[in-house]
Amino acid sequence: MAEPAQDTGSVAERLAAEALIVDVEGFEGPLDLLLVLSRSQKVDLRQISILALARQYLAFVDRARKLRIELAADYLVMAAWLAFLKSRLLLPPDPTEQGPSGEEMAAHLAFQLERLAAMRDVAARLMARDRKGRDFFARGIPEDMTVHRTVAWTASLLDLMQGYARIRTRDDFRPFVMDRKNLMTMEQALDRMRPMIGFAGIWTDISSYLPDGWDGDPSRRRSATAATFAASLELAKEGRIEIRQGDSFAPIEIRRKERARD
């Protein structure tokens, strides 16, 4: 039985509508309301009359207004859209008008309703499945399966000894300080040799120029030898002496250089 006009419903219909109004808080939005209203058509959603549905919805909104029930904006927006849809469906198509036809709009609304109904259906089927913690259960006494990530700190005996050695010898790495006590400079050697070379008419081992007290201790001897040799080179450069060495590692000898008058 199609609904001829919005105000000529049966008493039962009116009661149902009022029940809906009382229940308006319970709707999950206008699409939900449309879906509920569509059920009163008692046909498959695919065959539903969108025009009739639009009328039902508008009637519902109208009644809600009369009862001074405030509807959320969503519902009013839908009402405006449905009123527009209704006019498009009823009036012959105006070729100058742009946008989708009333049929296209109605088809899309039907699709939305069918889709929402389908999602509700599968949601119910999903929730009715055997569920973990209700129908089937996991192991009640799970065993410790955690992967224990332990950090094993290691050190070798060598690390330990090196570490200790490092601490005990840390003081050795002080800024370099000249050990003056055991060091002879080239200047000192030059000062010592200048007065002496005038007497060096014959080849003499430079080691004999080392001062007393510098030929015993190896480090003092090393320093004095180096300084004396460097001083000898300096004197040779000045043209005061000549240097020779018979062979590798043989004693280095020097003698006074004869002046040009020779």
Partner: protein
């Protein structure tokens, strides 16, 4: 018994366990864990050279019809008590928080339409999705963020988790009830509303929001 370590040829330090032994090992590991164990994790826990896939098949057959059954959850495997014996488990039943209608529908939409954006969920339901609904489902571990959609605004998407599959006893998301029928009926297509230039001019800001444009 030859010591394999004496054999310089032997690449493996230990002999590969027999198939029966591998089955025992997989059985023990899966039994020990309350959570599904992935094939990769099984492999990593088993001695070198083991092939857990064969052991899983053998176990699945062995436990078929028993009080405890081997189930697949996505890429993972778990033992679960047989669903038909749930009535004996009142003591173990965990009272799950009652989900609101909005949450149930949102969950179903995510499951059947994944990956799905919030705007798409709203278009399907015809109402806005409250933050709390999404949060609750995320908190329960049933949905999670998927990849961002490569559309303007790069909206986030939602997908269901393996915990969801586990909870509802699904091997994969393809096993969702009625999925094929929905797809065949075109109800999972994303079908944009017809271009509505005319009444857009009339200016219904709510409309755009509601129907996802």
């Amino acid at each position: 018994m030859t010591d394999p370590q004496d054999d310089p040829q032997s690449a493996l330090l230990f002999e590969v366990p027999t198939e029966a032994e591998q089955e025992r090992m997989v059985e023990a590991i899966l039994f020990a864990s309350a959570e599904p164990v992935t094939l990769a994790e099984l492999t990593s826990r088993l001695p070198e050279g083991c092939a857990p896939a064969a052991a899983l098949e053998a176990l699945r057959a062995r436990y078929a019809g028993r009080g405890v059954v081997l189930v697949r959850v996505g890429e993972a495997w778990a033992f679960r008590s047989a669903p038909d014996l749930g009535h004996l488990m009142r003591a173990e039943t965990v009272e799950t928080r009652k989900l609101s209608r909005a949450a149930i529908e949102t969950l179903a939409i995510v499951a059947y339409h994944q990956p799905v954006t919030r705007a798409e969920i709203e278009e399907i339901r015809g109402v806005s999705v409250s933050r709390g609904t999404v949060d609750q489902l995320m908190e329960m571990g049933w949905i999670r963020l998927g990849r961002r959609r490569m559309t303007p605004g790069r909206p986030v998407t939602f997908v269901v988790t393996s915990e969801f599959l586990d909870h509802f006893g699904l091997e994969t998301a393809r096993d969702l009830p009625g999925l094929k029928e929905l797809r065949a009926a075109g109800l999972l297509d994303s079908r944009p509303p017809p271009e509505d230039g005319a009444e857009d001019g009339a200016g219904d800001p709510g409309q755009d929001q509601m129907f996802g444009n």
